[in-house]
């Protein structure tokens, strides 16, 4: 099943194969759920959205045309479902003060930020302070290791926006980690 195992599963799902859907769920739900959780922040809501995404795959797998990687297409659906869920909850793209963080301080402080990165709790705290959109770019870049054009496709925005969001997220995270590292 190599050379596109997810694509092969989608083709089977498009033919109404429930076992293929089960297989896709078991093999890939963790990655999809992790992305959704980054967007919505709440495990219970993330589980709801994951269910919505899987139902959408069941109904729309035939629409996958292979123009992008299958996981890119799936994460794009997850992005839209997460946004819908946030809108329903009235939490559309809340921004926090971290997003307005100033330029990072001088180079010497990178050591403090790097030291803070070793502390998973501190990193989670600082990631949690980002907006959903900025956190999504960080997740897709560093957890999924996706290229910026793929991220732009998933988030349905221009590549320039991806770069700008990443720049803001990086500065905000570095600032947060420097402070946290210095305080620790």
């Amino acid at each position: 099943m190599n050379g596109g195992p997810i694509e092969a599963l989608l083709a089977r799902i498009a033919r109404g194969d429930r076992r293929a859907l089960e297989r896709l769920y078991r093999d890939h739900h963790g990655r999809i759920h992790a992305f959704i959780l980054q967007r919505v922040g709440e495990p219970a809501l993330a589980a709801e959205v994951l269910n919505d995404v899987m139902l959408a795959l069941w109904r729309q797998a035939a629409q996958f045309q292979g123009r992008s990687k299958a996981m890119t297409w799936i994460l794009g659906i997850a992005h839209h479902k997460a946004m819908d869920a946030l809108r329903r909850r009235g939490r559309d793209a809340h921004l926090t003060d971290l997003d307005d963080a100033p330029e990072p301080s001088d180079e010497a402080d990178v050591a403090a930020a790097l030291a803070a990165l070793d502390d998973g709790e501190l990193l989670r705290f600082c990631l949690g302070k980002l907006s959903e959109t900025h956190r999504a770019v960080v997740h897709l870049t560093f957890f999924e290791d996706l290229a910026y054009p793929e991220i732009a496709e998933i988030l349905a925005c221009p590549v320039g926006t991806v770069k700008t969001r990443m720049m803001h997220a990086k500065r905000a995270l570095r600032r947060c980690l420097e402070r946290a590292g210095a305080a620790a």
């Binding site: 498009a14 429930r18 078991r26 739900h29 035939a62 180079e107 990178v110 560093f142 996706l146 990086k170």
Partner: protein, 200 residues
């Protein structure tokens, strides 16, 4: 005087330099810039640590069973009109009936055959390549049908008492061992559908 703008352009690419997804041209530009920009080298250090930290702290270990049960329940509860009903579905159903009837009719024939139960066609050599095949118990009819169609194979007998079928591959020359080996290899790779396959 383009230096500040170049610096910003390169700085914006650094996260994807770190995750290894830049094009060759972009990577070369970044590396040329890094050679003389200490600030960007610091950035790369930070982003490398950030990438490791994100991978370490992202939890993907959730139990799928609860969510999967709910999903299947909801799919079962969907109105049938929302499910896909391809144009070939009625003919597929008819074909399935034929296969079942054929299986029942042939079952006795298999039973009367020798204890291996595989030389059903008698002494006459097969007109084309014939394979003995056993499908996985969980394989769906649609999957089997698609597999046979991909090989332009047709089911000619089965199931035997031990669950073996015979399929004929009219496109293959019985003397073309390489082509037969390729088909066998293809079938061996479909372990989710094929449990056993051999030439007759």
């Amino acid at each position: 005087m383009n230096e500040p703008r170049d610096h910003e352009t390169i700085e914006a690419l650094l996260p994807w330099y770190v995750n290894g997804t830049l094009t060759d041209e972009e990577r070369a530009q970044v590396e040329a810039h890094l050679a003389h920009c200490r600030r960007c080298r610091e950035d790369v250090r930070f982003l490398t640590g950030l990438r490791q930290g994100v991978k370490r702290t992202t939890d993907t270990t959730t139990d799928p069973e609860l969510g999967l049960k709910r999903l299947m329940r909801e799919i079962d509860a969907e109105p049938t009109a929302r499910r896909r009903t391809p144009w070939w579905q009625p003919s597929l159903a008819a074909a399935a009936v034929v296969i079942v009837v054929q299986g029942v009719l042939l079952f006795n024939l298999w039973q009367r055959d020798d204890d291996i139960g595989m030389r059903l066609a008698g002494d006459t050599p097969p007109p084309a390549v014939v394979l003995q095949i056993q499908f996985d118990a969980d394989a769906r009819e649609g999957e089997i049908r698609a597999l046979l169609r991909s090989l332009n194979a047709r089911l000619i007998d089965g199931p035997s008492a031990v669950g073996l079928y015979r399929i004929e591959l009219p496109d293959l020359d019985p003397g073309d061992e390489d082509a037969i080996a390729r088909v066998l290899d293809t079938l061996h790779q479909r372990q989710e559908i094929v449990r056993h396959v051999a030439t007759e």
